[in-house]
Symmetry: C2
Subunit: 155 residues, 2 copies
Amino acid sequence: MNVDAQSHVVYGEDFSPGDRTELGNYTISADEIVAFARQWDPQFFHVDEERAQTEGYFGGLIASGIQTLGIFQRLTVDSRDRHWDVIGGAGIEGLQFRKPVRPGDTLTGSTVVKYVKLQPERGRARVDYAGELINQHGERVLALTMSAYIGMRSQ
Amino acid sequence: MNVDAQSHVVYGEDFSPGDRTELGNYTISADEIVAFARQWDPQFFHVDEERAQTEGYFGGLIASGIQTLGIFQRLTVDSRDRHWDVIGGAGIEGLQFRKPVRPGDTLTGSTVVKYVKLQPERGRARVDYAGELINQHGERVLALTMSAYIGMRSQ
């Protein structure tokens, strides 16, 4: 990322394809899995440990994929060492839940910028970045490409 | 959906392209927006009402797109009038956050089955369905295609 040393803010012009960011990691607990799923995805294999063990296809509790996406997003936001002039998310392509996420799993994330389109007439850039989460066994549990609009400096 | 009257469970064979389901609606509060975003998407325009009004691009608090996806998923699960033999979600394509979701918005959902591929050798079907959420002004705020694996009856 090409950031003016004086600037405390990251703008659309500061992104280039190939920019890679390590996001750090997050360890998810059974309680967090159940609490999230009770509210947003109350399927038994996300909320009922006993039924998940006896009736679920994965032999135990697994996290909602939407929570796994939340972990990715949380790591992404926390990894920013200065403010990004984010306008908002535009969408997500190719979101894959590749392996189940289980209680106690530690997920480590990274992103790579894939595409930057400056739209100076609209005062913004569209930035697409590929992201992934890898568990403690080296398995990729989440893959996606996220698109966001970021404000431009030169307006 | 073609469901055996005796069956209390919905299997992969029971889905057909064109099946449409109305999901009902969900009204989101400012407190819910902030609580979700503090945990999973702590950008200021999701968690800080005052800064969102003065510095945000939308003139006020807006929900994390991941929470909007959670609302869609919650409505989807709640709309099932009998148990679906869900193995797990496979992924999401073409997820678009088309309009901001604001405190007090009421989102109404629907899904339409787009594609069913029976995989009897694996005891499952892959079911892809398009989904959307519309706000109280008739604007589409979320669009996506979700893929899930559903167990098959005949094994």
